[in-house]
Amino acid sequence: MNMAMSSLPLARRQCEIRIGADFFIADASGALWHEAERTLVFADLHLEKGSSFARRGMLLPPYDTTVTLAALSATMAHFAPRRVVSLGDGFHDGDGAARLSVDCRATLRTLQLGRDWVWVAGNHDPRAPAGLPGDHAPACQVGGVAARHEPRHGAPGLEGEIAGHLHPVAHIAARAGGLRRRCFATDTRRCVLPAFGTYAGGLDLRHKAFANLFDLARLQAVVIGERRIHLFDAPAVIGARRA
């Protein structure tokens, strides 16, 4: 009975997807989970984006890092990962780690305790974040699948690819008007993760940046709704021309 109780919300919040030769769980938080390796992958945290803008005269509310870390804590508490991969753009800029508030730094260090942590390099943070533990690498492997920040051009090799960088959002045309939601974009060879960060914007799946990355016949969007995730096939989200 207990199991039935807990499996109901689970089923709604997660969805199994294939990437390359392995299977992963796409979570409604926006993170990707590999059960056998107990590895949690999330992309584009963009920590300290608020203060990065503030430096340039746009004084955005300084709560983004707190909110992102809270979401991260909740997801990690749920999965209890052995290894965590930040798939690039963990910080919005190279000095981001230095601007962390005392509280946020403490929260992040606590999250890093007792597990492996990989900072994959992103275009916003090509170097290791100053003063924080964890390995820094241009790419890594999760369940035999290559994980890197920017997806490579063209179709990935047979081993598959997990990437971030593009911040995919799906636009669903509904009767009452359009809805825009973060999503995983996947065609079983490649999966582009949604951005996890609070202030990370989104790029519509119809954007040309996605055009050559996916086999459109197999493209699915795992769309993150308010309380659950939804699956859409390509025509619903990219509006492919009707035959």
């Binding site: 005269g57 509310p61 045309a173 008007g177 359009g178 989104g202 055009a211 492919a240």
Partner: protein, 855 residues
């Protein structure tokens, strides 16, 4: 009138110039010269064609013509020349108007040989010209509110405006109702603080409350004295124009019960255009303009030159239409409010207002576009598109006859605009908080601003105003040792200059011709990439474009287009095959909701059957049927009908508070009905009423006492229910976005790189969510909330209505739809009202429903 006996008011040079033109100075023109002599500020209220602009400038021309000048024949440099200093500042809402005024001023200046330099300054002026104007200003500068703000934020502001004698503000009635007016009011307060005692002249169309405008201009303050709050400029009213020749179009075809496209009256509209020299055909929305333009061309057997003009068209296309109008090459222009204001583009002899006028003052303004000669009547016809609109048209007609106005109430100044102003002041002229606060509250819209709000705004400008004080090191303005706040870096000043102004356009996407090309030869079409191949047609709102799917057809820029997709900030569309009916968009809803004033008149008319005689027969009959089958809405109260239909239960109410207020009401009612377990499914509304449909029997619930209408419509719905709704509505995010941009939280553009609307939309939504969670009391949320109250959500009107109807709700349980409810039920699923085939379907549905109502 007595002033005409005082020829001394007009110097001989001017008197002979008037005489040479065969003119006599009008009394209000002389009165303004008299007021100028006494150094008074004046509000001049005059109808179009009364020589308002010349009246405003005559005192300046006279004063400048008397200034000491080098005598002719003396070589320059041998005598001390009058140093040219800025004497008169003219501010207009339209830059085209500034250019037009310059042309009109050049005539008297040249013909009288006056030594006066007149220049315009707009966003289009060259950087060199703008720089020179700061160091060597003209005598008279014609400009826009944004440019005034920029000049005040410049280091040279005290030098430039120190000698200012006169400030003329044109189209004041249209400025004061907007955030641009707030900004200009703050700038005016600044100008009064800099210049010793400038006289302010406001030029305005007739308004409901001239005192509000007189207060806005304020009285002239004596040199060195503190501004006196609440003092009024003098009022000068020009003689009335000849009464307008205004009528309601009567057609052979019966007026439909619902719909907004007025296709029933096309033959009569076309005939009227043919019978006049040049007609302006006003509609309320861009979509109506597109539809009407298409429809007129389909029947245009005489190949009349009919053009289209609306704000979403490409600027070059609009300019071509305006030029053709000015040259008298056009027979008619179908336009939206873009031509409400401004310049006389040509010899317009007929104004056709298609659709309901929505407001009496707006209608009068539009009528004024025809025939700019004061002594001849302007000719205009109103074409209502449905029966409710016929009532509204009749009410508007009476209001125009009585010259009753319904211009909006005076605004209270927006906090986001104040934030922009505070930053501007800190850029040009470091300020003491105490002094600036006194200056700000001397501006009428900000008279009631609390000191704590002012301080919160300063704190916001400096470091964002967050409880978490983590941005001290990034402060945009800093208080120096002298206690003065100044911009902290040159970058901040540049950022201010790039973001000045209060006009925030909806996130727009360009519309360009192009098509989907296969990515690789032989690849399935679905993997194609969009290519932009053709010209740019104009812009559409992003939120509207995003609801389309590939293959949808829509009318735009006078063509039927097929939606192909969105790439970056452009909608790519191809030309649809000839004969295609546009499927999307539906009528978007009137931009302007029905004014409170007209709504009250419509309610009064409904409640008084003896007034129905003047209505078209089918409208009067419709009301008789309503009386027989249900009840007539009362003047003060609220009629609520319930009836079953098609397996659903309907609740229809008639508040007459305009579409925006009804939409808000609809959201709140459905929440409450949901809580009462009546399972509401949706709602529809128009300017006059609202209908909710549900699975639960609402009529039975009322009859059994399970649902109390007094509770359902009680004022407390503006409490928790409203809060819960605001948390999720996109409308609130749109309000917030505008505030965030105006207040400088988000940049509209970076130096050297334009941020697109799409990017801005994304980030302000995220920022809004974070701010709501972490600082619900933040000053920008307050600003967005205040905007929503009078803007997109019209909360103020909902509140006033709820209090009006308290204890006056009448319920009528019916077996079937009532005659009035037909018009609201027909609003459901209205996406089908575009195109003529749809129209027939609608007509059929209407006939069936009416049959049902009367059975």
């Amino acid at each position: 009138m007595g002033r005409q006996d005082e020829p001394s008011l007009l110097p001989s040079r001017f008197a002979s110039w008037f005489a040479a033109r065969g003119w006599a100075p009008r009394s209000h023109q002389l009165e303004l010269i008299d007021k100028a002599r006494q150094g008074r500020s004046v509000l001049l209220v005059a109808p179009t064609g009364a020589g308002k602009t010349l009246a405003g400038f005559l005192p300046s021309l006279i004063e400048l013509s008397r200034a000491p000048l080098p005598s002719p024949g003396v070589p320059p440099g041998t005598e001390r020349r009058r140093k040219r200093r800025l004497h008169t500042l003219y501010v207009s809402p339209l830059k085209a108007l500034a250019a037009d005024v310059k042309r009109n001023l050049e005539t008297p200046v040249e013909e009288m040989g006056l030594p006066i330099r007149v220049e315009t300054r707009t966003g289009d002026s060259s950087a060199a010209a703008r720089q020179r104007q700061k160091s060597a200003p003209p005598d008279i500068l014609l400009t826009t509110p944004e440019q005034v703000a920029l000049l005040l934020a410049a280091k040279e502001s005290r030098e430039l405006f120190g000698s200012l004698e006169r400030i003329i503000i044109d189209e004041l009635h249209s400025l004061v109702v907007s955030k641009r007016g707030d900004l200009l009011a703050l700038d005016l307060a600044r100008l009064k603080a800099i210049a010793p005692s400038p006289a302010c002249v406001g030029l305005s169309a007739t308004v409901r409350e001239p005192d509000a405008l007189r207060l806005w201009l304020g009285a002239t303050t004596a040199r060195g004295s503190k501004p006196v709050g609440g003092s009024l400029a003098d009022l000068v009213a020009a003689g009335g124009a000849a009464p307008a020749d205004l009528s309601i179009l009567r057609t052979k075809t019966t007026l439909p019960i619902a719909g907004h496209i007025t296709s029933y009256a096309l033959p009569e509209i076309y005939a009227a255009i043919r019978a006049h020299k040049m007609s302006l055909v006003f509609v309320n929305t861009r979509m109506q303009a597109e539809f009407l333009f298409q429809a007129l061309w389909r029947m245009n057997e005489d190949a009349l030159a009919i053009a289209l003009h609306h704000g979403s068209l490409d600027a070059s296309q609009r300019k071509r239409v305006e030029a053709a109008m000015a040259q008298g090459q056009l027979k008619a222009v179908v336009c939206t409010s873009t031509l409400d204001l401004g310049i006389d583009w040509g010899d317009v002899d007929l104004v056709i207002n298609v659709g309901a006028p929505k407001g009496a003052s707006r209608l009068m303004q539009r009528i004024g576009r025809a025939n700019h000669r004061l002594d001849e009547p302007s000719k205009a016809v109103i074409v209502p598109s449905n029966r409710f609109e016929a009532l509204e048209a009749e009410a508007a007609l009476e209001a125009v006859e009585e010259a009753a106005q319904d211009t909006p109430d005076a605004r209270s100044g927006a906090l986001d605009v104040l934030a922009q102003h505070v930053l501007g002041v800190a850029c040009g002229d470091p300020f003491l908080a105490d002094e600036l606060y006194d200056e700000v509250i001397s501006a009428a819209p900000y008279a009631k601003l609390e000191r704590s709000s002012f301080d919160a705004v300063v704190d916001f400008v400096a470091t964002g105003g967050y409880a978490l004080r983590s941005y001290e090191r990034f402060a945009k303005i800093k208080k120096g040792q002298d206690g003065r706040w100044r911009a902290s870096t040159a970058g901040v000043i540049q950022q201010y200059r790039m973001n000045v102004g209060t006009i925030v356009e909806a996130a727009m996407l360009k519309v360009r011709i192009g098509r989907l090309r296969a990515a690789r030869p032989g690849a399935p079409a679905a993997t194609g990439i969009l290519q932009r191949t053709g010209r740019k047609l104009g812009e559409v709102e992003e939120y509207w474009a995003e609801q389309m799917t590939v293959g949808d057809t829509f009318a735009f820029a006078g063509e039927i287009l097929r939606f192909e997709g969105i790439i970056e900030d452009e909608v790519v569309a191809s030309r649809a095959r000839a004969g295609t009916d546009p499927k999307i968009p539906s009528y978007e809803g009137g931009k302007f909701p029905l004014s409170t004033f007209l709504a009250a008149r419509v309610r009064a008319m409904l409640a008084n059957p003896s007034s129905w005689a003047k209505l078209p027969e089918e409208v009067a009959q419709w009301l008789v049927w309503q009386d027989e089958h249900s009840l007539l809405p009362e003047y003060e109260g609220l009629l609520v009908e319930t009836f079953p239909r098609g397996g659903r239960h309907f609740l229809v109410a008639y508040p007459f508070e305009g579409r925006l207020a009804h939409q808000t009401l609809g959201m709140l009612l459905t929440r409450r009905l949901e809580r009462a377990r009546l399972r509401p499914l949706g709602f529809a509304c128009n300017d006059y009423g609202i209908g909710v449909w549900a699975l639960g029997d609402m009529g039975l619930a009322v009859a059994q006492g399970r649902l109390s209408l007094d509770d359902l419509f009680s004022q407390d719905m503006l409490g928790d229910d409203l809060e819960a709704w605001l948390a999720e509505t996109a409308l609130m995010k749109r309000s917030f976005r505008a505030c965030a941009i105006i207040a400088g939280l988000i940049e509209r553009r970076h130096p050297g790189h334009r941020k697109t609307g799409r990017q801005v939309t994304i980030s302000t939504d995220l920022v809004y969510d974070v701010l709501r969670t972490h600082e619900p009391g933040h000053i920008l949320l307050r600003a967005a909330r205040e905007d929503a109250a009078t803007g997109l959500l019209d909360l103020k009107r909902v509140a006033v209505m709820l209090s009006r109807i308290r204890g006056r709700i009448r319920h009528k349980g019916l077996e079937r739809v009532s005659p009035l409810a037909v018009s609201i039920v027909l609003e459901i699923g209205r996406e089908a009202v575009f195109g003529e085939a749809r129209d027939e379907m609608l007509a059929q549905a209407e006939a069936e429903l009416m049959q049902e109502a009367l059975s």
